[in-house]
Symmetry: C2
Subunit: 152 residues, 2 copies
């Protein structure tokens, strides 16, 4: 590629990532709106469901902001207000960890747990919107996840 060409928008990997990421979020939006969730809120709920569904002990333990941040690559400046909104919606509770008062203990409420049932349809609906074969998406997903880990 010519030096000049590197400044062309169409030659920029990062613009493709940026554009496609926003496009995907816009496809999620109508699916998540009935659940009362934004896409980042949905991601937080995914982590919470992973941690607290089935395991009654971790429901008691709760999840820290740091844990959520590590999983989602987000900092407290993003998570703190987001978690407050989910709390206000009644999907989770925020309380201090009694063994370390610095830590926050995020726990799903019953409503938060129940929401998982309705969320089951979301990935399926997303797949239906894809103009590409699911297999191709799986390949791409593996590539991107690998890249994300290498860059992280």
């Amino acid at each position: 590629m010519d030096t000049d060409d590197t400044l062309l928008l169409d030659n920029q990997l990062c613009f493709a990532l940026y554009g496609l990421s926003r496009k995907m979020t816009s496809l999620y939006r109508p699916l998540l709106k009935p659940l009362g969730l934004t896409y980042p809120q949905y991601l937080v709920m995914l982590v919470m469901w992973e941690e607290q569904v089935g395991t009654s002990e971790s429901t008691l333990l709760g999840v820290s902001v740091q844990f959520l941040g590590d999983r989602l690559l987000l900092d407290t400046g993003t998570l703190t207000p987001l978690l407050k909104r989910l709390e206000k919606q009644g999907l989770l509770t925020r309380s201090r960890d009694s063994s370390d008062e610095r830590r926050l203990c995020v726990r799903l409420t019953d409503a938060g747990l129940d929401l998982r049932e309705r969320a089951q349809a979301v990935p399926v609906s997303m797949l239906c919107k894809s103009p590409v074969a699911p297999g191709d998406l799986l390949v791409l997903q593996a590539e991107l996840m690998g890249l994300l880990k290498k860059f992280k």
Copy 2:
């Protein structure tokens, strides 16, 4: 994939896109800061440079908000304030198109044109940060651009 597995964060293509896109932006940040640009501002400048470098006619004609929005997949709610910031920085001018007063005429200033020289180093520096071979990135870029067009 099991139905339950579709709700796992690691199985979500869109989370990989979302995370990787933000990771890339964070790698751009220190490179763009000396230029006084954010990543979306940099993208606008890329389009402006494509349109107005070398072609003296289009410098006269200028570029509309709609054109920028079509290229970058952004709407006026994002672009209008962003363009005002670039104007305040002296990189471009915003004036009405005399043949159609609805249209805005965005033009690079001399400072905006000059900034392109310093921006030449940005794509090179980004490549240096990559833990992956440039060839692999090119392949991925082509895949993502193709997908972006199919989804659009």
